[in-house]
């Protein structure tokens, strides 16, 4: 079973008969399907107008939640971002601000 198939078949609604023997995880890279974004209590906001694309934020993100395409960062991957705020601390230009999750940005 591929990881995509597995994630379709085994989820938090699966009956016990469908959970793999020993809760073994078949296939690798399954953590991509896990919504760690709902652990967040603080949420980062990216301000593109202040961003110089220095990319200091990208390597310090522990959850690979800053998406870079063609040497430029885009907005956060909020499905995985846990809101740790390291990116906001490291940004020299004030282009990332932290806010209460669910509050007004």
């Amino acid at each position: 079973m591929s990881k995509i198939d597995l994630m379709k078949h085994v989820n938090e609604q699966s009956p016990w008969q469908d959970v793999t023997q020993g809760t073994h995880v078949y296939g690798s890279g399954n953590s991509e399907f896990f919504n760690t974004g709902d652990w967040r209590t603080s949420i980062p906001k990216w301000h593109p107008e202040s961003c110089k694309q220095c990319l200091l934020c990208f390597p310090v993100c522990p959850d690979s939640s800053i998406i870079v395409r063609e040497k430029k960062r885009e907005d956060f991957d909020f499905f995985h971002c846990k809101g740790c705020g390291i990116c906001a601390k490291v940004c020299p230009f004030g282009a990332i601000s932290m806010h209460e999750e669910g509050g007004e940005a």
Binding site: E12, S14, P15, W16, Q17, V19, Q21, G22, T23, H24, V25, Y26, G27, S28, N30
Partner: protein, 408 residues
């Protein structure tokens, strides 16, 4: 249940079983040599120490191809077994008492990861007070860990049970670790007559281990032992429970296969002179043989007594036990460990639970005996039969009591 093909063993084409004399430890080691597992990780502890000693000698003499990992503790021994088993190979260990207690955390991991590790358990009292002699407190402490537990009366049974262990644990509908228990010193160190099977027969009976999923498979990636968050934990446990239920059928099949091939009969328990028995003792381990002598003596006097020697404690054969005891008037359940429930020992609790609502009205006393190697003689068992035979019809007997303890 999957359509697992049980092997057809052609005993006639093999060399016959031969007579030897050896201790329980040597007998189990002999079986391990015949099994030739891929990995053994063990740490010495009395009275199981001889098992890794024999293994290292077999290894030094080139008689096994096993990777023998000399770990620094039992915690590491079981961890190494878990790693090895998850990688896709056969892993075994041996331990006793405090050594098993140090493994407890990992015993649960082996079971929940569904890894068919096999352990030669040599029962010894848990400390304290510190004691090196036989009782069942070590493996009874692990009774809820998810391991299959099979108890042996003597060296012959320890040997035979060891040759059956892998086929039971590795069955695709089971995939659970298996503990083969024998009593420390009484069985592990006493030298007895024994029938050993040929290497050829043993190897064919045990077979090759070919797991469907394993970590060293280069074609398929696999994760073993993930964090089981609350939306998955209960489903995982229910899966383990089903495996233990499936093990009932598998144990029955493998025991029959082995019994048919060797002529030595194995089932969930042995019913000794139970056909018309009105009074019975239910017991596990080495003292069963002593108790059988008491049965013979009392039978010679015309007393209708019998004995149930339980072999498989996990999964617990509650239906068969209730059926086997359905005709008796009086019952003594013998526990060689304390549960400190202040209402008896673990075997007492299981057997009463098996009887409740199925067979009611048996006058039952749960005895705690033989702790820390306290001896039990034939006349002690005769005493116990006399006690349960003396319970009056309108009397509610003591729930449990100690036997063989000095009292003022």
């Amino acid at each position: 249940m999957s359509d697992y093909k049980y092997p057809k063993i052609d005993k006639k084409s093999k060399a016959p079983a031969f007579r030897e004399r050896m201790s329980g430890n040597e007998a189990v080691s002999y079986a391990i040599r015949q099994i030739d597992p891929d990995v053994i990780a063990a740490f010495p502890i009395t009275p199981s120490t001889e098992i890794p000693q024999y293994i290292s000698k077999y290894k030094a003499d080139g008689k096994i191809s096993t990777e023998f990992v000399t770990v620094e503790s039992e915690h590491s021994a079981m961890s190494a077994c878990i790693g090895a088993s998850a990688s896709g190979v056969r892993a075994m260990t041996a331990t006793s008492s405090a050594g098993m207690a140090l493994m407890y955390e990992l015993l649960y991991v082996a079971a929940s990861d569904r890894l068919p590790v096999v352990m030669a358990a040599v029962n010894r009292a848990l400390t304290g007070p510190i004691n090196i002699n036989a009782d069942h407190s070590d493996s009874m402490g692990a009774r809820d860990s998810g391991w299959i537990q099979i108890y042996s009366e003597n060296a012959q049974e320890a040997y035979d049970n060891m040759l059956m262990a892998h086929r039971i644990g590795e069955h695709p509908d089971v995939k659970l670790p298996v503990m083969i228990c024998q009593d420390g010193f009484i069985t592990s160190h006493a030298i007895e007559n024994i029938l050993l099977e040929s290497d050829e027969f043993a190897k064919e009976f045990v077979g090759e281990y070919t797991p469907e999923k394993f970590l060293l498979n280069t074609k398929e990636s696999l994760g073993v032992g993930p964090y089981g968050i609350s939306p998955y934990y209960m489903e995982a446990k229910r899966g383990q429970e089903q495996a233990m239920e499936n093990a009932r059928e598998v144990i029955a099949q493998i025991s029959k296969l082995y019994s048919d091939a060797t002529g030595r009969l194995y089932d969930f328990f042995e019913a000794y002179r139970m056909d018309d028995a009105e009074y019975a003792i239910l017991i596990m381990g080495s003292a069963s043989g002593t108790a059988k002598d008491a049965v013979d003596n009392l039978r010679a006097e015309g007393k209708k007594v019998g004995l149930i020697k339980l072999r498989v404690f996990r999964p617990f054969p509650f239906d068969k036990i209730a059926q086997a005891l359905s005709k008796v008037k009086g019952l003594a359940i013998m526990d060689r460990s304390e549960g400190f429930s202040a209402s008896g020992g673990p075997l007492g609790a299981e057997v009463r639970s098996a009887l409740y609502g199925r067979v009611d009205g048996i006058k039952t006393i749960n005895y705690i005996y033989g702790l820390g190697g306290r001896d039990m003689r034939v006349r002690d068992f005769e005493d116990i039969y006399a006690e349960i035979m003396a319970i009056k019809a309108d009397e509610i007997p003591e729930l449990y009591k100690y036997y063989g303890v000095r009292e003022r």
